[in-house]
Symmetry: C2
Subunit: 382 residues, 2 copies
DNA sequence: AGATTTATTGACAGCGCTGTCATTTCTATC
DNA sequence: GATAGAAATGACAGCGCTGTCAATAAATCT
């Protein structure tokens, strides 16, 4: 006769327990005709209790380990981690939220920016959320329809998010800001016009970027550089113009008033501006438009006038929209750190800086992207 | 002497209760130095219990009313609704989720589509979510990096969403589909190539749209119509070509093989295709590109060749991207019902159709948008 | 009217987790 | 080796809501 000994590991026991509970349930259901749909798929879902059993510690200790709380012995921590991994445990967000009155949700609020802008902000924010087990919910708002503040309030009543990312122009809306402050919900404005005391924001350095573009054009040999301003109400407009001026002054180039034309960030306004600029007796040899759409307008006018870009006219844009690569020739432009701003904003909400290292705002790096629409021949000559 | 009688309404009493609880807490805290941050802002938050008290019914009845469950007397329902409104009650999502094992979250999964596409799908889905007190979480995936199926699985372990919206090309990924099926999570593919048994999807009628564009060009007087195909692996490519063919055949126009050129949806391929078409001995008088980017390429070639659009050449696109309006002349194109598809998809997840009216897929209406890049002079002549 | 069915309501447990606080174990000190 | 203090761990209640099931009220039928 052979003695057969079966060795049941703790893990097996846990699964066995769950399985038996399931069997019980099935039997019960088949007798009573009950329809407890709730348990349908749940019988294999592991909870903190399961992990605790396997690691032979209390639930609370498991919770401590999984939330990186202090005061857990190294050995215990490892044991718990191993158990959690073995059981493929993943926490239940709703339960966590209910118990800790947090939601693990960050909201991204926006009002009609370009799809490109929003898509990139979003990607960055999601990246930060993923790394921290948070999730991003998107909420478009319309500032025109109703009072945006009311809309935000209504939203927050229903969805208790842990933090809010505000994109322009929402980040300068007084109603929205007021509501958020009174509700004490942390928020981070992205590229705001106004700085708010005690609130950190993320932004790029428009002046510096614009300076660099202008400097690049100058170093390429251009002296007569036209500039197309953006929409007057947009905060970036003044900043980008300032960068242009600074560069011109640095190289002792006189700023011809005729070379400064107003636009409004639209393709059409770029066309009109370019027409004005190129109709001048002594037209500029380079045009720096404060965004890509207007730069595209310039290119289109130039090609209509038979003015080959970049040999006869260099064109610089701003934003690095997808358009910049579609255009022929491809556009030299400034890539805003949109993705990075989104990521940073979410990070600031998830891991708020302590008082000590609190900064009013974080400047993220832009990048000058040199493509075919500017002529760098002269650089090579020097 | 005057007798002063104060009438305390039920509502006041509830607030008073909450307030007194708060005072108690404050006193307690000031004595013990305790830091129960959890209660910091909560003391005025109304719960179902508050509503129940005010309406003088049980919590369960309140729950029934607020979730539109049957078997509540009309009077009771009204009473509860009034109380809820008075207290500005709004449910706690986490608690609901925990108790009902639902999450009230819909996930939108995508892998690198155009920002415009994703932004619109998103807007539609969010609209549907808002109307139903659901929320949308966005999750970009990368099909290239790792097995997309694994990524989805990992995501769903952490975030138990109630439904998933799949955009192309994700909606045709076998791994992802397999995971979703095995996890029994409802999903709706948007514009999928393959139809899946028992799963309803949303899509547009590419063939019909393409047919209409071609028909419109024909009715405008064109007989020689060039067609630029899209990327060979994209399901829309064949469908749009089919629509073109159908229209040509309907009007007994011969399809010249030289007029059918391959593209890949990129601006560059549009340029090349246009060069091929316009170099022909007998070039077409109209070109229908299967997307806007390629159409933009056509326009750019035409203007380089001095071929004025639309007087010498009509150009039609597809998609109605922002580019279509930026271009000069503005592009005649087909507007896909992207927003509507997103909305419908979310709606299908939130309110799944019952077995009886289950349809395999829902076709949503596109729209032919006629702008300046096509010449409708001939229509007016007829 | 009384019996039976049906509609309406309520009591209560418990979803999975964390905060609080008590208890146990370890470490450092004299 | 005894003691105080710190570190590690656990017991337990309860977050706000819903599912279950029992209790009650209303409607319908003999």
């Amino acid at each position: 006769m052979t003695a057969l000994s079966i060795n049941l590991s703790d893990l097996t026991l846990i699964y066995l327990n769950k399985y038996m509970a399931f069997i019980d349930l099935c039997l019960y259901l088949s007798h009573s005709g009950d329809q407890r749909t709730q348990f349908k798929n749940d019988f294999m879902k592991t909870t903190i209790t399961d992990v605790a059993k396997l690691a032979d510690v209390s639930m609370k200790t498991v919770s401590r380990v999984l939330n990186n709380e202090p005061n857990v012995a190294k050995k215990t921590r490892e044991k718990v981690l191993r158990a959690a991994k073995e059981l493929r445990y993943s926490p239940n967000l709703a339960a966590k939220g209910l118990a800790s009155s947090k939601s693990y949700l960050i909201a991204l609020l926006y009002d009609n920016p370009s799809p490109n802008y929003i898509a990139n902000i979003q990607k960055g924010a999601i990246k930060a959320c993923r790394d921290n087990n948070y999730y991003l919910v998107i909420e478009p708002l319309s500032m025109t329809n109703a009072n945006a503040g009311d809309e935000v309030e209504k939203l927050l009543e229903r969805l208790p998010v842990d933090g809010i990312i505000l994109t322009p122009p929402l980040c300068d809306d007084k109603d929205v800001l007021g509501i958020l402050r009174s509700l004490k919900i942390p928020y981070v404005p992205v590229a705001p016009t106004i700085e708010i005391n005690g609130v950190s924001s993320v932004k790029m350095d428009d002046v510096q970027a614009s300076f660099e573009m202008t400097e690049y054009l100058i170093k390429s040999g251009h002296k007569k550089i036209g500039f197309i301003k953006g929409h007057i109400e947009h905060s970036a407009t003044a900043l980008r113009y300032k960068g242009y001026k600074l560069a011109m002054e640095k190289f002792n180039l006189k700023i011809d008033e005729n070379f400064i034309v107003n636009g409004d960030f639209s393709f059409k306004s770029g066309v009109e501006a370019a027409e004005n600029l190129l109709r001048l007796k002594e037209p500029p040899t380079a045009i720096f438009a404060s965004n890509d759409d207007m730069a595209a307008g310039v290119v289109s006018v130039a090609s209509r006038l038979g003015l080959e870009v970049p040999t006869k006219l260099s064109v610089g844009g701003f934003d690095d929209t997808p358009l910049a690569q579609i255009l022929f020739p491809q556009l030299t432009t400034v890539k805003q750190p949109i993705y990075e701003m989104g990521k940073m904003a979410a990070n600031l909400l998830i891991n708020p800086p302590t008082r000590d290292d609190l900064l009013p705002s974080y400047h993220l790096d832009h990048k000058l992207i040199i493509r075919k629409s500017t002529d760098n021949q002269n650089i090579l000559d020097n």
